[in-house]
């Protein structure tokens, strides 16, 4: 056995595992807490027990519904986008107000989440008389918080809650760079 290589390999593996852990802890420690509305389904991961696949309200955005609007973003394979979030005026969860290709500047009550743009669709708009009004854009975005792991067998109860149109929210911590870590799941305000 090559002892130097042995110690390098061990240190490398522990450094990798340590850095994954430390980074997530740092996001949890300094990140802003936001709540996101979900639409889950329930497959299963072989080596990780049960998990719920999460789809969010902010996974499909319409430039017309965004407060700050949105321009056409060319969807390069794997390109990142930043979605600016603000609290819903009446509900507990947060809503998207803008989509940008670069990290946006944030105000006190705002947060940003980074996602991968999967598709941009352009929809031509006309008024009742057929006059062209311009384009609106539909963005489909995938966030790296699409899995929520639960003890085996519990995934179905979350799926059922969703089907019964209960309010299923995910509690997420977001740092200033838009990195996200899930810290909890709430059904009708009750932490699971």
């Amino acid at each position: 056995m090559n002892k130097i290589a042995f110690f390098i390999a061990v240190i490398l593996q522990f450094a990798v595992l340590g850095s994954i852990t430390a980074y997530r802890y740092s996001v949890i420690a300094v990140g802003k807490t936001v709540y996101l509305m979900t639409v889950p389904v329930d497959p299963r991961s072989l080596f990780q027990g049960d998990y719920v696949v999460l789809d969010y309200e902010i996974s499909k955005l319409d430039s017309k519904e965004l407060e700050e609007g949105g321009k056409y973003i060319y969807c390069n394979e794997g390109s990142y986008v930043y979605v600016k979030l603000r609290p819903h005026p009446e509900k507990k969860w947060w809503i998207a107000v803008a989509i940008t290709e670069k990290l946006p500047e944030l105000k006190e009550n705002e947060a940003v989440i980074r996602g991968k743009l999967k598709k941009t669709e352009s929809v031509s708009e006309q008024d009742e008389e057929g006059k062209w009004l311009g384009y609106r854009y539909i963005y489909r975005i995938k966030y790296p918080i699409d899995s929520y792991f639960v003890p085996e067998g519990k995934g179905k109860s979350i799926e059922d809650a969703q089907r019964e149109r209960k309010e299923v929210l995910v509690e997420v911590r977001l740092n200033a760079l838009g990195d996200a870590v899930i810290t909890g799941l709430l059904i009708d305000g009750v932490r699971q």
């Binding site: 595992l17 080596f47 990780q48």
Partner: protein
């Protein structure tokens, strides 16, 4: 005693003399048993007793290793499914603690000169490191489709190749790296072009320096698997080609490739222009090409893949004119032609390797099956749901499964009888993968996963134990007989 010039192999009396000498050299400890087996193989000598002994030892080791890994997987699954109750920090301490303890064990065993045990434990460390990544991902709810996690696992395992010269570490690295490229393509629905570069740069120097054919073929296997899936994603999403046709074409190509090796083995007089690509062209490597043969059959043994593939073709037929996969048809006809040529040559050949006609029988069955399926695809009715299999396609699914299980078992026998450890390993893996796949298809809800792996692992370990005991008893009896 000059060798026969045409075959370069000893004949008749020469063979008997060499066999006798080999036995004497082993008894007098001039050469090891393994060296004798290799020499016997080189000169075409059937040396049943020694061959059986060596292959039994190999089987026991393989069974014990797979059994241990299964028990390990079962334990990880059990923890993963039930550890929500444990606080996050404690879970992390457990993960880091177990990995650190395992590495200490390696260090300790190595110090005490337990070389084989330390290799086994170091291999387990590589697996534990991957489990640690996955458990940490679970703690922080990192996406279940986590290609970067697999890449980080592969790159963390790679340095183990420098720790111990044993080939298993590099092999584990190749396997994980291959899983990464597949997960990446599946997740992003796009072709991944870096894999061959990373694979070749990191492993070819090892294979070259150690002159390790087994490793070279594993790299080749990795590239074949990558090519399959790359073509699948690249053709499907870029050029809208039904993936069933690309898999069928690749099966026909693999069959042609295998059968050319077969032809060379029975007709050494043929121009051996393929030898220029040595070591990829010789007869040994023909046997080592079984993965490209078994892989498409394995894919076709999944109900969901077949039903989705059929629906994919039906959908495209509705959208445009029926696609005519002329290339697949041509390659299929060539595969048939090479198969017929193989039969003709085998009939007239003076050299008839063991099981040769069964081998051709297997290829006749699979090529005919794939060809019939290929011609039938456009005529299956379109289903409403992607997981719904048209009832007309059901017999094909059964036959694909028959080919997979039968083929795996057949190549295990080939591996044992011809003492090709590579074939034995690949076919054993194929059989295990087939059993696992069918378990997850049909018995998922019936038997707990962790329990399944633990029971499976214990059965394998028990088999290894019984085999070893049986061989010891046999040896003892033989000893008694010779003493009498």
């Amino acid at each position: 005693m000059p060798l026969d010039e045409t075959t370069k192999e000893p004949q008749g009396e020469q063979k008997l003399w060499l066999e006798k000498e080999l036995k004497r050299w082993v008894e007098e400890n001039i050469i090891s048993n393994e060296q004798a087996v290799k020499l016997a193989g080189l000169y075409g000598i059937e040396w049943a007793e020694q061959v059986r002994k060596s292959i039994h030892n190999y089987l026991i080791t393989v069974l014990a290793l797979i059994g241990a890994v299964c028990v390990g997987i079962g334990a990880i699954l059990f923890i993963a499914a039930n550890w929500e109750e444990i606080p996050r920090f404690l879970r992390l301490v457990m993960i880091f603690g177990v990995l650190a303890a395992a590495y200490y064990g390696v260090y300790h065993l190595n110090k005490k000169d337990y070389k084989i045990a330390s290799i086994g434990l170091l291999l387990l460390c590589g697996l534990l490191y991957g489990a640690a990544i996955w458990l940490i991902a679970q703690i922080f709810h990192i996406s279940a489709n986590f290609p970067l996690g697999v890449l980080v696992w592969a790159l963390g395992v790679f340095p183990l190749s420098f720790v111990n010269p044993h080939i298993s570490f590099t092999l584990l690295y190749v396997v994980i790296l291959t899983i990464w490229t597949l997960v990446f393509m599946g997740e992003n629905k796009e072709a991944e072009f870096f894999y061959p570069l990373i694979l070749c740069v990191t492993t070819i120097p090892f294979a070259y320096r150690r002159k390790h054919k087994f490793l070279l073929f594993t790299i080749f296997y990795g590239l074949v698997v990558w090519l399959f899936f790359m073509l699948f994603y690249y053709l499907k999403y870029r050029y809208e080609i039904p993936f069933l046709y690309s898999f069928i074409s690749l099966f026909f190509l693999s069959a042609i490739f295998y059968l050319i090796g077969f032809i060379h083995s029975i007709s050494p007089q043929l121009p051996r222009f393929f030898n220029r690509l040595s070591p990829f062209a010789d007869f040994d490597s023909a046997y080592q090409r079984i993965l490209p043969i078994l892989l498409p059959i394995f894919l076709f043994s999944f109900k969901d893949i077949v039903s989705e593939g059929i629906r994919d073709v039906a959908y495209r037929s509705e959208m445009s004119e029926k696609p005519i996969p002329l290339i697949t048809l041509i390659i299929g006809i060539i595969a048939f032609a090479v198969l017929i040529k193989s039969y003709i040559l085998l009939h007239f050949s003076s050299k008839r390797p063991k099981l040769a006609s069964y081998e051709l029988g297997f290829f006749t069955f699979t090529i005919a099956l794939l060809f019939a399926f290929f011609l039938n695809i456009p005529y299956f009715p379109k289903t409403d749901y992607w997981r719904e299999l048209p009832k007309e396609a059901f017999p094909y699914l059964v036959l694909f499964n028959l080919a997979l299980f039968g083929g795996s078992l057949f190549f295990i026998i080939v591996g044992i009888l011809k003492q090709r450890t590579f074939v034995l390993a690949t076919a054993s893996l194929s059989l295990i993968a087939a059993i696992l796949a069918r378990y997850f298809d049909h018995f998922f809800k019936l038997l707990d996963r962790s329990l399944f792996f633990v029971i499976g692992g214990v059965i394998l370990l028990g088999t290894a134990f019984l085999l070893e005991r049986g061989i010891r008893r046999l040896k003892k009896n033989l000893g008694e007989v010779s003493n009498e």
